[in-house]
Symmetry: C2
């Protein structure tokens, strides 16, 4: 790219890609930094340059559309299937030589460069539309891009965890409407993954089975929270959901991350993905804002115990009403749910496709 960032084209049919980014050089922003919150021992990234990032630009200025006569965008080619490139305003980026994240001792903590990597995954060269409405083949190509990027990013010595996600809808802070997702690769294990890792490892030590495998068996057995299944995947509202509409989509065979999925499981994903997201939009007959998050085992630990799954959460609890994270959730991390998970599952199953 014009400022030295990497870009990767993923095509369902092999073709040559040699378009050149002819935008005038601009220096990249100052790297973000990490500060340790001593009260919780959690890392916070401070990326002041992100205040200036593009905020809901009009369609004709969309940086995720292909380049055309009138507009030079982030993608130099004039068409594409799926494209991945480094984020222009990254929260995490390649560190300077000699970077370490030394242990912090005592009260005077150091500020570290926020090492890692942030990438944008553009789902389609069409500005309109959404993940659920893409073709099965297109989603299969996205899946391959996710797998390839997870594999490559996992090799970086300063990356501990690769997180792939999609924010959809202005209610969850989307700043660009063109269908796209993101990849955040962190130089630490995130607080949520730390909790999941502790629970998964504890369970594995006790029962010699991955926790997620037993959770899936329980869901199949209980039946009431299951929304959809095929040979390789199951979708259900979790027993202790935090959000009015929360769906987990998990491979039936345990794998730690997307890279380890069998080809058959990867092939079977687009169909169930389209079904659950279509059901979600059907609940109120409106486009639902959601966060779709791939939980993967960290790069170096928990590979036997923490199982890959896709978590979709929506903050909409009724037409015109959102679930806000207020005092209990935001300040204490203690979630209160207004809707029984079994009732949410019933509603999702009842949607006419």
């Amino acid at each position: 790219m014009f400022d030295g960032r990497e870009i990767f084209y993923y095509d369902s049919v092999a073709r040559e890609r040699n378009a050149i980014d002819t935008r005038e050089f601009e220096p990249r922003p100052e790297p973000a930094v990490l500060r340790l919150d001593l009260l919780t021992n959690e890392w916070i990234a401070v990326a002041a340059h992100r205040q200036r990032r593009a905020f809901l630009p009009p369609k004709e200025l969309c940086p995720l559309c292909p380049t055309s006569d009138g507009l030079k965008t982030e993608i130099a080619d004039s068409d594409f299937d799926v494209v991945v490139f480094e984020n222009r305003s990254p929260s995490f980026a390649e560190p300077a030589e000699g970077w370490t994240m030394a242990d912090n001792e005592g009260i005077e903590t150091e500020i570290h460069q926020a090492a890692g990597r942030c990438e944008v995954v553009v789902f389609s060269d069409k500005h309109e539309g959404s993940f659920a409405n893409l073709s099965v083949q297109q989603i299969r190509t996205i899946m391959e891009a996710w797998r390839d990027r997870t594999r490559e990013i996992s090799k970086l010595p300063y990356v501990e965890q690769v997180f792939i996600f999609e924010n959809r809808g202005e209610e969850v802070g989307v700043t660009l409407n063109h269908p796209h997702g993101q990849i955040y690769a962190y130089p630490f294990i995130t607080p949520r993954t730390q909790s999941m890792l502790a629970a998964a490892q504890d369970y594995y030590d006790k029962y010699k089975r991955p926790l997620l495998t037993d959770i899936i068996d329980r869901e199949i057995n209980d039946e009431v929270r299951v929304i959809a299944q095929n040979e390789h995947w199951i979708a259900y509202v979790p027993f202790a959901a935090r959000y009015p509409y929360e769906i987990h989509v998990a491979p039936k065979e345990f794998v730690p991350d997307l890279v380890e999925l069998s080809a058959a499981a990867a092939d079977a994903f687009p169909e169930i993905a389209k079904e659950v997201l279509t059901r979600l939009d059907g609940v109120f007959g409106i486009t639902m804002a959601y966060i779709a998050a791939w939980h993967q085992a960290p790069v170096r630990v928990g590979r036997d115990s923490l199982g890959l799954h896709w978590q979709i959460t929506s903050v909409r609890r009724a037409p015109g009403k959102l679930k806000y994270l207020a005092g209990s959730e935001s300040a204490m991390g203690a979630f209160i749910m207004d809707l029984a998970p079994e009732q949410a599952a019933q509603t999702l199953r009842d949607v006419q496709l």
Copy 2:
């Protein structure tokens, strides 16, 4: 109250309170339940009855106003200073006899009654206004109500933690505009407090001093993040803030909870509270939505290590722009900040009072 709930009047000048709640009896809702999220070992409360709670009623139907000829409200008297009563749609309530929260073993977890207590703290009998605009005397009375309720609720055998907070503004999900706060008493230690407890106890074991005491010393020493001080309190933007405008207000002398505050410290609170909230509203010249959360040590543990402080967070990052909890924050608990804490502190200090 008409359905058996308790109500407490706190008056700055002693007076008799004997108004009778003459509303017709209605049964209280089914108690909420607790479900264990096995993926994280965290408890989730499911309170399905809360879907039906009052949602932004017009002023003339406000249930937190005093009772008048035209309207019977939650408060039977026709005027009051500060009133606390049990929440009509509680997420946590007195459990049935024989209640326990037995350890959960294996994959088939039990559903427990959500034991605990939820109370509403009405800050004033005036429908309009906000905490920051109350008189010093009125805030001192609220402080006394908080202290008294913390003391009393801490005696309940099924309560592990007392959480006092205020949600202000529709952007954080406020469903009633009348100035009020809430008390949630949990039968478990919340996820956030567990993290804080682990960090505080670890620090105490190593250095034989409360972590918060050393953090305050550091803030006084660094100076750049301090917003306001008096003899007993200090207000600062924390070194690793998670929100664009986050302020911590802490007593200079370590105490585990509000009950243990000296009378002098309690007396000195209203002034600094009014100042920081007025500065917050001054940042953009608009009424800021915020969550104001009292972090107190749990009832039975961490009393030497976890220090009382008041955490105010606002999701507004610019006029017309909110900070949303998107993928990284919501799914991974990893916060990205757009604004350097020192810059936020400077802006808050620069507000003309």
